[in-house]
């Protein structure tokens, strides 16, 4: 009850703030662009734009076409569709109408490349990518509050990404972290594995292998891997790197072997060993430092491959090799593309933005997701070979984020008023609770469920967000559109990031249009409802 009142009051305050703020943009569908965005704007800073990027892209393209058995020519997707893919993958929401207008007003031929860079460098990318990565780094649970602070870890990771720190250094900090989980956020990577006041070496080992080596060796904890070559001794050798890691009220620290030995029979202390590339294991201050250095060693190809596969997964909604964290050995023919991406990542200071931009610039990422005139089997083969962009289900936070964005007209970002963000946070959490958080991985072909359909059709979020009042997109489109066609087109742009097809317009016009060519705002509410409940809205494509 109190929470509801609180939210209501916050809502009123935020809405007033929003209205005053929004007054700066009187025309919601204005095509005006800020001066800074015009052609004289400086080239956005980013990774190298020299020949090496073009070369890397050419190598990726060569590999993609070498692995393709389809002779059909696939059209390139609409630019707005690509903009939507990027925004969903990297910001967790669809682009705002404001962003669409700005993009369309850029007349330069390379506007898509420029927009790609801008999206990657936007702080929202650091925030969202950090959220997604943290799921594989520390899991989705809040864990034991006493020794684990997920929010601190997340903020730290987001800052690291935003500052463009080489990713190998970030990872090394996590694995070798020392100190308190409150003031050394990276230490939460270790404390996420604390159960009953003990560091669970096995959990940590499994997590590190999945997240940074793209290998699932968890089952080798108890027995030799049934298919892969992992032996139980491999697992034990890796887990032994954490033997000297200890947790106390002063934080994560290292104990000496002598200390450990005084507590246990020395024969119980395992010998730290790595299962491959053992020549890369060098001396270091502690076993953990040695392991961290070995994992991110440029010669240890698995690290780059694992990150590349995960970034591919983030952008496409499907890993290049599934499952995302269990990929073949380097050099394996089926994943040569990951070798190329991983190599480029390593030779360019583990620049995550460059890696993302490389993947986002491929013909695979820019391919259409629909093609007329082929049968299902050929279609799916082309999809599997990355000739057709795969459709995959959005995650719950992407859906609610997109619903909120669709009715907001302006870009929802860190500049929003605090209260508006608070409401957004509470709503997002409630929605994700009701929708079901699938944790780290959603199978690419995960299906819709009845509770989700009910929530989207009848839930409070949809009702409030589609309601036509002066504060929602529906109300503002309704107020500012002079005729049915403009209103329908704007609604489509806001929700689906595209304009209606002619046949859609023809079907929708009759039920929108009154005798005098105007429409009721309730009809626009219905249209917004339809768009938000459409499969197109809930899937990347």
């Amino acid at each position: 009850m109190w929470r509801n009142r609180f939210i209501f009051i916050c809502g009123l305050l935020a809405i007033s703030a929003y209205v005053f703020g929004a007054a700066a943009i009187p025309e919601p569908i204005s095509t005006a662009i800020p001066a800074a965005e015009r052609s004289e704007a400086p080239e956005p800073k980013s990774g190298p734009t020299d020949g090496s990027f073009a070369q890397a892209l050419a190598d990726v393209e060569a590999e993609l076409s070498a692995r393709s058995s389809t002779a059909i020519s696939i059209p390139v997707a609409e630019e707005l569709t690509i903009l939507r893919r990027l925004s969903l993958a990297l910001h967790g929401t669809i682009p705002s109408l404001e962003e669409i207008r700005r993009f369309e007003s850029d007349a330069r031929p390379d506007r898509l490349d420029r927009a790609t860079k801008q999206i990657i460098e936007d702080p929202r990318t650091a925030d969202y990518v950090a959220e997604r990565l943290s799921r594989s780094f520390v899991g989705t649970e809040n864990g034991q509050f006493i020794v684990f602070r997920r929010d601190r870890f997340l903020n730290w990771l987001s800052t690291e990404l935003n500052e463009g720190r080489p990713f190998n250094e970030t990872v090394r900090d996590m694995i070798s972290a020392r100190g308190l989980w409150t003031d050394r956020p990276a230490a939460n990577f270790i404390t996420a594995a604390v159960t009953d006041d003990q560091i669970d070496n096995a959990e940590l080992t499994g997590r590190i292998c999945r997240a940074f080596l793209g290998q699932r060796i968890d089952c080798a904890e108890c027995h030799d891997h049934p298919f892969a070559e992992w032996k139980q001794t491999d697992f034990e050798g890796l887990a032994a790197f954490f033997e000297t890691t200890d947790i106390s009220p002063l934080g994560i620290h290292e104990k000496s072997i002598a200390e450990i030995a005084s507590q246990r029979a020395t024969s119980e202390i395992g010998e730290p060993m790595v299962p491959f590339y053992s020549e890369g294991l060098t001396d270091g201050e502690s076993p953990r430092d040695r392991l961290a250095a070995w994992i991110v060693d440029p010669q240890n190809k698995r690290f780059g491959r694992a990150v590349a596969n995960r970034m591919w997964w983030l952008l496409f909604g499907r890993a290049y090799h599934a499952p995302v964290d269990d990929i073949p050995d380097p050099g394996d023919e089926s994943t040569r593309l990951l070798d190329i991406l991983g190599e480029d990542f390593a030779t360019h200071q583990y620049d995550l933005r460059r890696l993302i931009r490389l993947i986002a610039s491929t013909s695979a990422f820019r391919a259409a997701s629909a093609i007329e005139g082929i049968d299902q089997s050929r279609f799916e083969t082309a999809q599997d070979e990355w000739r057709i962009f795969p459709v995959s289900r959005l995650r719950p936070e992407q859906i609610i984020g997109s619903m909120l964005q669709a009715v907001q007209i302006r870009t929802a970002d860190a500049d929003d008023q605090f209260l508006f963000r608070l409401i957004r946070f509470v709503r997002e959490r409630d929605f994700v609770d009701a929708y079901g958080d699938p944790g780290d991985e959603v199978p690419a072909d995960a299906s819709a469920t009845i509770p989700q359909a009910l929530l989207r059709m009848n839930g409070r979020f949809t009702r409030e967000l589609t309601e036509a009042n002066p504060f929602t997109g529906t109300g503002r489109i309704s107020a500012f559109s002079s005729d049915v066609d403009t209103a329908v087109a704007t609604a489509f742009l806001c929700v689906l990031t595209r304009r209606p097809h002619a046949n859609e317009l023809e079907s929708i016009r009759p039920w929108m249009k009154q005798s005098d060519a105007t429409f009721e705002s309730s009809q626009l509410e219905d249209l917004m409802w339809v768009l938000m409940n459409s499969p197109e809205f809930a899937w990347t494509h």
Partner: protein, 424 residues
């Protein structure tokens, strides 16, 4: 790695095409005489009701008291309808019904954390970071679809922190969560008039067709139109009455108890009558690290009337042969009483009740050490309990499904407990 890997959902996809074929005709489908609600006795397709005691109930304050011992604390035992078997004094009504059930006093699990323990007892597997195993209710629901059902076939009432999930079978086998049983159903009423709703559904059809164009088979793959159709069918279904308790007499409602859990048990009975395959009802509040004894008396005041009334009514309505009942939590509690008069987590030698569905009744399996030792006599693993229940549903627990991680997993790692199965 890229070899053909048959996926369990392929089977249900085939089902889906069948559903799709019959889509337009679905209203003609179940003639009233075939409705599950009118079938009785052994002929009736079976259902599973799990009464989930969240937090880890103390075996010593429920079905395995040790009165007069150091570990027993102040809890006394009472005689039950199974000769020479006592349960905790706070359950006089269940004591009367106990001969229709069986008691396992030596369940053992390896997980002493709430989340992991819940996973282990609900799925029969230890948590594995690379795959999510389906809950028992999801396995049963997937194996035995009820085509005449317009409401979800797997329901969690008064749903707790970790409701049962479909795991690798797919999210469509997750339990449908109803947090306030007998109250308002979540998101079931359309927010607009019937005319506008019809308009909206038509609009959706336009968008579905747009999405399908140039993407052969992909719209079906999303299950979205099918899910929306089923959600709409559900919104208009008479079977929704099963979630309501207004038409039950005040006397019946009082017998179950008017709390969330009591209402949940009553709704569970109504759902089973309608043909729902698996229902879970949660009673929370067993995590008694302090004041263990008061906490258990308070829980017993809800559990005793509701569970005993559920058994009584299922029997009176001739539903007992076709309804399996399992009452269990994620683990038990320590024999040792701590300084706060509480008991801590104890996954060794905890208790459950199981019965109905043609299982043998009046059987008592295992015993815990009156001195509080760790090892119970005649231990029963959770997978063995699952295998027993699956086999009574006619499901082979050894059947293996290909999972998304590319290896086959058995439905259960256990073997059925012969003593609970009817003589053949």
């Amino acid at each position: 790695m890229s070899d053909f890997q048959p996926h369990p959902r392929l089977r249900s996809r085939r089902d889906l095409f069948r559903i799709a074929l019959g889509g337009g005709l679905s209203f003609l489908l179940p003639p009233l005489s075939l409705r599950a609600s009118e079938q009785r006795g052994v002929e009736r397709p079976a259902s599973l009701i799990t009464v989930w005691l969240q937090g880890g109930p103390s075996q010593l304050e429920t079905w395995d008291p040790h009165p007069g011992t150091k570990i027993g604390g102040p809890t006394r035992g009472i005689e039950t309808s199974i000769p020479k078997i006592q349960i905790a004094e706070h359950f006089p009504r269940i004591a009367e019904q106990l001969r229709h059930l069986s008691v396992i006093r030596s369940l053992s699990s390896k997980e002493g954390d709430h989340e992991r323990g819940t996973y282990a007892v609900k799925s029969g597997y230890r948590p594995d970071p690379t795959v999510t195993h389906p809950s028992l209710g999801s396995l049963v629901t997937q194996a035995l679809p009820n085509k005449s059902l317009e409401i979800p076939s797997h329901v969690a009432l008064a749903s707790g922190t970790w409701p049962p999930v479909g795991g690798y079978l797919g999210a469509e086998y997750d339990a449908f969560k109803v947090s306030d049983p007998g109250g308002q159903m979540p998101h079931i009423n359309p927010p607009v008039s019937t005319e506008r709703q019809a308009m909206r559904v038509n609009g959706l059809d336009i968008l579905n067709r747009s999405f399908a164009r140039g993407r052969p088979g992909q719209l079906e793959r999303t299950l979205q139109p099918e899910t929306v159709r089923r959600a709409l069918t559900m919104m208009n279904s008479e079977q929704l009455e099963a979630f309501k308790i207004e038409e039950e007499t005040a006397e019946t409602r009082a017998a179950y108890g008017e709390g969330r859990f009591g209402r949940g048990c009553l709704v569970a009975r109504r759902l089973v009558e309608t043909g729902v395959r698996a229902v879970e009802v949660t009673l929370d509040g067993f995590d008694s690290h302090a004041d263990n004894f008061d906490a258990h008396v308070a829980r017993a005041n809800e559990l005793d009337p509701a569970l005993s009334q559920l058994v009584r009514e299922l029997r009176e309505r001739d539903l007992w042969q076709s309804t399996m009942l399992l009452c269990v939590g994620e683990f038990g509690r320590t024999p040792r009483i701590n300084s706060l008069d509480g008991r801590d987590h104890w996954p060794h030698g905890f208790s459950c009740l199981v019965g109905g569905g043609g299982l043998r009744s009046g059987v008592v399996i295992g015993a815990t050490d009156p001195e509080g030792g760790r090892e119970p006599v005649d231990p029963v693993t959770v997978p063995n309990l699952h295998a027993t229940i699956l086999s009574r549903f006619g499901i082979d627990p050894d059947e293996e499904l290909w999972t998304p991680i590319g290896r086959p997993l058995a439905l259960s790692e256990g073997t059925p407990i012969e003593r609970l199965l009817p003589a053949t």
